[in-house]
């Protein structure tokens, strides 16, 4: 088992171990090809997700896609965002400090 789908409603799966770029993951009868090396806990699109569509995990929305996402693509800060609060990363903090 390399990934799990936490709810049948979900359009993403969660990696349960580290996977290298080009590796394949089989989950719920779907085979996904991984586009970059990823650690466990990261999310992959299970099916095509359109820009603006909700990302569903545990069967509930955890935010919205900011662009079209293909099956097997890493789903993270670069292609989805919170519907509540912006997400702060060390990189953004560094840019902010350098620019100040």
């Amino acid at each position: 088992m390399e990934a799990i789908r936490l709810s049948p409603l979900d359009n993403i799966v969660v990696l349960t171990r580290r996977v290298e770029a080009g590796g394949r993951v089989r989950v719920d009868g779907v085979e996904l090809t991984i586009d970059r090396s990823l650690g466990l806990g990261h999310k992959l699109a299970l099916r095509p997700i359109a820009a603006g569509e909700k990302i569903l995990k545990y069967g509930v929305s955890i935010g919205s896609a900011t662009c079209d996402i293909g099956p097997g693509a890493h789903v993270h800060l670069h292609n989805m965002r919170s519907d509540y609060l912006p997400t702060y990363t060390i990189e953004e903090g560094r840019l902010f400090r350098d620019g100040a």
Binding site: L15, T16, L40, G41, V60, I62, G63, Y84, L85, Y88
Partner: protein, 417 residues
Amino acid sequence: MNPIRPNAGLRGDVGNTVVRGDAFLRSDGRKGIRNTVAVVYLVECAHHVAREIQWPFREHDVHLIGFGGCFPNDYSFRMLKALGTHPNVGAVLLVSLGCEGFNRHGLLQAIRASGRPADVVVIQETGGTRSTIEKGRRWVEDARARLADVPRAPMAAHELVVGTVCGGSDGTSGITANPGIGRAFDRLVADGAVCIFEETGELIGCEEIMAARAVTPELGRILVASVAKAARYYTVLGHGSFAPGNADGGLTTQEEKSMGAYSKSGSSPISGLIKPGDVPRAGGLYLLDVVPDGEVRFGFPNTSDNAEIAELIACGSHVTLFSTGRGSVVGSAISPVIKVCANPETYRNLADDMDVDAGRILEGRGTLEEVGAEIHRLTLEVAAGARTASEALGHQEFVLGYKAFEPIGPACHPAYA
């Protein structure tokens, strides 16, 4: 072996299994699982002297807590009063510089009224650093001797108060350790224990699902309002309860982290909403509202995980269940912390710091039910006196800052009405 707790009738007949025969009986009827002397600084200026008093006894259940601010604050007073009269605490020494704003007389009076040995040393009235340290250490030695004779009584599972917190969360937290703690909470609630989950700012996005579990519709509306308050508060501050390490670990948004954090609460009905320092009087599951009331003041509500742990303990927690994915190593003053590690890679990296390997679920070495049963069993063992990893390593973290709260109303705890 009758439960001593006066409200035991509210808890039914469940959970009468004795978890230890020799709990520390305090004069208010509450029972402790540790017999600690608390040395308490009342301003940062007294911190060094208090630490010097405590340091030689640090491996002998003498803990250092305190408040750094010079200006008085009702919340911090309430917190230190709740901690100074916590059932795990047997005696309290306050350490004052002498000119700070903290109401040391009021705090001393409240702790003495609980029947505990308590005293205050005032540095400006004791000849300075050296003589205050000597006087304080003599007092602690004497208190430790007196605590050896504290009354003992059997303690049942339904007399336990257990809190939960998560720190250093990653993408594994919400699928292993957090739901594992949720399973343990379901067992503890069935035992009749009080279980407390918290950080309304980490429940943003789950408010409606949570409200549906409230024992009354009015309590459901109060739960939703508490999360809306947290969202407003964090929006003003600019970002929520989301650290950069969360994103490195695969979490993307606040609401994703929230759903994972929420699973620590298990599936029991939610019996009430409390605020720091409120000790639930009936068994069940409670949400602790940690975000201040009123306009945004004093900065971030919880500067780090230990601020939340201190609040859980001020609500009576004998034990705190701490879920971590990235790998926190902290413990706490006053009450032991059981660390449940969500991520199997982190567990291998930091095994000495962890009590439960919940990430084994991801590697097919166990099920969620097994992990939940293990956390439940370990909670009862720690209540019976077993030391946690962080206790054995000497962790006694504590932090307390400024906040402001309005008291809770009767609709916050419908079972008492």
